[in-house]
C-alpha cells in the first residue's frame, strides 16, 4: 500500500518543475557559492588591495616595498589607476587617505620619512618613524592580514637592518658583559619587569599600535571611526534589498492572480492599456519597496542608532533607485511566469542566488575576485555599495552616480522586457 503512495508522489514531483528546482537546483547552487567563498580554493582567494606611500625612499623602505609587492595575496597600488592609461602622480599621504575613504582600497600604508634610520622596533611600539596603516573599519580582515604580511616582509627583506638593530640593542643593554655591564643589564631588565608588572609595558596587540612585530605600525581607521554601530547600516541595506526582492516578486505576482481570475481581461477592456497597467503596478511596487526600506532604516535608527537623519538625501536617492530596480525585477519575473507556484520557485531560486553573490548574506570583500565581479550583475551589490557610500563613507549624493545609474537603467530595461513579454496577456 505504501508503494502506490510513493509512486504518486514521485510522479507529482517529476511534473512539478518548480518543486524540482527548489529541491535540487537551489541547494546545489547554494553549496557551490559557499564552497567557492569558503572552500579554500587557493587561486580564488581574494587579494587585498593596499595603497602604499613611501615618503622615506630609503634603502630599507624600498626593500620593504619590494617585498610587499612580491606578496601574492596583496595588490600594491602606488598610484591611482587611470582609466585612459595616462600616467598619474603617486599617492601621497593625503590622497591615500582620501582613496581609503572613497572605498578604492580597504588599507593604505604610509612609510614616513626617517623610517630607514630606525626601521626595526623590538619591544613596545615606537612613535615617530613607525609605519602608518590607514584602514576602512568596515573591513575587519584586511588590516590584520596586511599587518601580518608587513611583519613577514620585514623579516625577510631587511636582514641587515635587523642585525644592525640587534647590535644596537646588544650594545645598548648588554655590552661585553663586564660586571658593570651586567649590572646595567640587570637594572634594565628590572625596569622592564617593573613596567610589565605595573602595566606600563604594552604587550598586547592594541587596535591603535601594532607592537607584536618587529616593525612599529600605527593603525588608524579613517572610515567609520566615529560610527556607533559600524556594520548595522550595511546589514540594513543588505538584508533589506534581499527582502525587497522577495516582496517585489510577490507583489508583482498579483498580475498572475488577476490574469487567472479574469480581472486582467476586464481591466484591459476598459480605458486602461497594458502599458498604463504595468506602469501603475511598477509605481506601486516601487513605493512599496521604498516604504519597506524606510521602515527598516527607521528601525535601525531607533534600535541600533544608525544615523539616518543626517543622511536623508542619500537615503532617498539610493532608496528610490533600489526600489525602482527591485520593482521592475519583480514585474519581469511575474510576466515571465505562468503560475504563482512557478513564480514562487523561480523568484526564490534567483533571489537567494543574487543575494548570496551580491553581498546580502556576507560582505563581497570576503569573496574570490571572480565572484566579486559576478556580484556586479546583481541588484544587491549595487544597492549595498550605494548605501555603504551614504551611511559608511559619508560621501555626497554626487558620488552615488554609478550606483544610481546602474540601478535606474536596470529598472528601465527590466520593465521594458516585462512589457514586451506581457503582450501575451493583451490579445488572443
Amino acid at each position: 500500500m505504501i508503494l502506490p503512495i510513493i509512486r504518486t508522489a514521485i510522479v507529482s514531483l517529476r511534473r512539478d518543475r518548480a518543486a524540482l528546482a527548489l529541491s535540487f537546483i537551489l541547494p546545489i547552487s547554494f553549496f557551490s557559492i559557499f564552497a567557492a567563498i569558503f572552500g579554500g580554493q587557493r587561486d580564488a582567494t581574494p587579494k587585498i588591495h593596499v595603497i602604499l606611500v613611501d615618503e622615506d625612499q630609503s634603502t630599507a623602505s624600498q626593500q620593504l616595498v619590494h617585498a610587499l609587492q612580491r606578496e601574492s595575496s596583496l595588490v600594491i597600488m602606488t598610484r591611482p589607476t587611470s582609466k585612459d592609461k595616462t600616467a598619474t602622480p603617486d599617492y601621497t599621504a593625503a590622497t591615500a587617505e582620501d582613496s581609503v575613504k572613497a572605498g578604492d582600497a580597504p588599507v593604505a600604508l604610509i612609510v614616513p620619512k626617517g623610517f630607514g634610520q630606525n626601521p626595526i622596533s623590538f619591544g613596545p611600539a615606537q612613535t615617530g618613524s613607525g609605519i602608518q596603516l590607514l584602514n576602512d573599519s568596515s573591513d575587519i580582515i584586511a588590516p590584520q592580514m596586511v599587518i601580518g604580511l608587513l611583519q613577514k616582509a620585514a623579516m625577510t627583506s631587511m636582514p641587515v637592518a635587523m642585525a644592525e638593530q640587534g647590535m644596537k640593542y646588544t650594545d645598548r643593554y648588554i655590552g661585553g658583559l663586564t660586571p658593570e655591564q651586567r649590572k646595567t643589564m640587570e637594572s634594565n631588565l628590572d625596569t622592564l619587569r617593573e613596567l610589565q608588572k605595573n602595566g606600563g609595558l604594552d604587550t598586547t596587540a592594541s587596535s591603535g599600535n601594532s607592537s607584536g612585530g618587529i616593525i612599529s605600525v600605527h593603525e588608524r581607521a579613517v572610515v567609520g571611526e566615529n560610527k556607533k554601530n559600524p556594520m548595522v547600516s550595511f546589514y540594513a541595506a543588505a538584508i533589506g534589498v534581499m527582502f525587497l526582492l522577495f516582496t517585489a516578486s510577490g507583489s508583482a505576482g498579483v498580475l498572475l492572480d488577476e490574469a487567472d481570475s479574469g480581472t486582467l481581461d476586464r481591466v484591459l477592456s476598459s480605458h486602461i492599456t497594458m502599458t498604463t497597467l504595468l506602469a501603475g503596478k511598477l509605481t506601486y511596487n516601487t513605493l512599496l519597496a521604498f516604504t519597506q526600506l524606510t521602515v527598516m532604516f527607521l528601525w535601525a535608527w531607533a534600535v541600533f542608532h544608525v544615523d539616518l537623519f543626517s543622511h536623508i538625501p542619500g537615503f532617498i536617492v539610493m532608496g528610490l533607485s533600489t526600489a525602482v530596480a527591485v520593482a521592475a525585477f519583480g514585474m519581469l519575473l511575474a510576466s515571465m511566469c505562468h503560475t504563482r507556484a512557478q513564480l514562487g520557485a523561480v523568484s526564490t531560486l534567483l533571489i537567494l542566488i543574487m543575494s548570496s553573490v551580491g553581498g546580502s548574506m556576507f560582505p563581497r570583500y570576503l569573496m574570490p575576485e571572480g565572484m566579486q565581479k559576478a556580484g556586479l550583475f546583481t541588484i544587491n551589490a549595487w544597492a549595498i555599495d550605494g548605501f555603504t557610500k551614504v551611511f559608511w563613507r559619508d560621501l555626497p549624493i554626487t558620488a552615488l552616480w554609478p550606483q544610481v545609474s546602474v540601478l535606474l537603467a536596470t529598472g528601465i530595461v527590466l520593465f521594458l522586457i516585462a512589457r514586451r513579454i506581457a503582450r501575451r496577456w493583451e490579445f488572443a
Partner: protein, 317 residues
C-alpha cells in the same frame, strides 16, 4: 418578455452589428462567419454548448480577441475605437473582481478604469449597488460574499460606466435557483431601460425567459436565428414530441426506437408526431413487439429540442 422596438435602424443607431466574424486558434476555427445585429432594448441570446464559440464571439466584441476577418461595429464605430469601448459593458464568465476589496471599492475601481470620477462615479456606484441589490453589503469584502452575491457584483462591475450595450457571458454559472431569479430580474430591468444585451448561455430555460431573439451557435456557426417561437416553428411546425421509457434490454429498445423513426436520448425514446392519434399507434406497436412501457409523456418542442433537431446533439453534451 419585452419585444424589440420596431424603429428603423441605421449602422449609426444600431447598438451592435457583427458581420462575417472569423476567429481561428491554430487549426481550430472557433468562430466561423458569425453575423448578428442587436437592437436597443433587445436581449439577444447566444445559445450553444461549451466550446461552440459563444465566449470567443463576446471576447472579440470587447476587444480581447483579435478576429481574423469580419467586422464589429458599436453604434457605427469600430469595436476597438474609444467611442465603442465607452458604449460597451462586459460581464465575463469568471468572477473578475478584486476579492480583497469591498463591493463599493470594487465598483469605484472599475468605474475609475472607465474614466469616471467625482459625482458621476459616486452616482454610478450607488446605482449599481441598488441594481444588484447590494446596498446593504457595500462594505463587505467581495471575497466573503456568497456565490450569488459575487455574481451580482461581477455584473454590477460590468455596467459601472452605464454602457448602452452589455455583453453577458454565462453570468449565472454556479448560481443557485433563487439567486438566478434575482439575476434575471436585474437583466430584465436593464433591458427594459433600453440597453442592448447579448447573453450567452447553454441553459435553454434562461434563453427562453430572457431573450427576445436567440441565435443557436454550434462549431462557431450560427445555425438558427429568431425568436423562440420562430425557431421552434421552423424546426417542428405544429409537431409535438412523445417521450417514452421502456423496461428491457437497451439494445433491443434502441433498435425498435430507430425502426419507428425515433431516437434515444438518455435512455428515453423520443418521437416527433404530427397528430396525437399517432401516440396510440406507437404504444400498440411497442406492446406487440414485447416492450414493457414504464412512462410516456407529450411535450411541445422547445429550444433544447430545436438544438437537438439541428445538431443531433444535446445542448449540454
Amino acid at each position: 418578455m419585452a419585444s424589440a422596438p420596431a424603429v428603423p435602424v441605421s449602422s449609426a443607431t444600431l447598438p451592435l452589428a457583427i458581420d462575417a466574424l472569423v476567429k481561428r486558434f491554430g487549426a481550430l476555427t472557433a468562430v466561423d462567419g458569425v453575423s448578428l445585429e442587436v437592437r436597443a432594448g433587445e436581449c439577444l441570446g447566444l445559445l450553444g454548448p461549451n466550446g461552440a464559440g459563444k465566449s470567443t464571439t463576446i471576447r472579440a466584441i470587447v476587444g480581447r480577441v483579435i478576429p481574423d476577418s469580419g467586422s464589429i461595429t458599436v453604434f457605427g464605430a469600430r469595436a476597438d475605437s474609444a467611442q465603442a469601448r465607452a458604449a460597451l459593458g462586459w460581464v465575463p464568465q469568471e468572477l473578475a473582481v478584486y476579492p480583497r476589496l469591498t463591493c463599493k471599492e470594487n465598483l469605484v475601481a472599475f468605474g475609475s478604469y472607465h474614466g469616471l470620477s467625482g459625482k458621476q462615479l459616486a452616482e454610478s456606484v450607488a446605482w449599481c449597488l441598488e441594481w444588484a441589490a447590494l446596498q446593504d453589503r457595500s462594505g463587505d469584502l467581495a471575497g466573503k460574499l456568497s456565490g450569488g452575491m459575487k455574481r451580482r457584483l461581477n455584473m454590477a462591475a460590468g455596467i459601472i460606466q452605464r454602457p448602452r450595450v452589455v455583453l453577458m457571458d454565462e453570468p449565472t454559472v454556479g448560481v443557485d435557483p433563487q439567486s438566478r431569479n434575482r439575476i434575471f430580474e436585474m437583466i430584465e430591468a436593464l433591458r427594459d431601460s433600453g440597453t442592448a444585451i447579448v447573453y450567452t448561455t447553454h441553459y435553454m430555460e434562461e434563453a427562453e425567459r430572457l431573450c427576445d431573439r436567440v441565435a443557436i451557435i454550434d462549431h462557431g456557426r450560427i445555425i438558427a436565428l429568431g425568436t423562440n417561437q420562430e425557431l421552434v416553428h421552423n424546426a417542428f411546425a405544429s409537431r409535438s414530441q412523445v417521450l417514452a421509457r421502456f423496461a428491457g434490454p437497451v439494445d433491443r429498445i434502441a433498435a425498435w426506437v430507430k425502426s419507428h423513426g425515433g431516437r434515444m436520448v438518455d435512455a428515453t425514446a423520443e418521437f416527433t408526431i404530427e397528430r396525437s392519434i399517432e401516440i396510440a399507434a406507437l404504444l400498440d406497436s411497442a406492446a406487440n413487439d414485447g416492450l414493457e412501457l414504464e412512462d410516456v409523456s407529450l411535450r411541445r418542442p422547445n429550444l433544447e429540442s430545436v438544438f437537438l433537431h439541428l445538431t443531433g446533439r444535446e445542448l449540454r453534451e
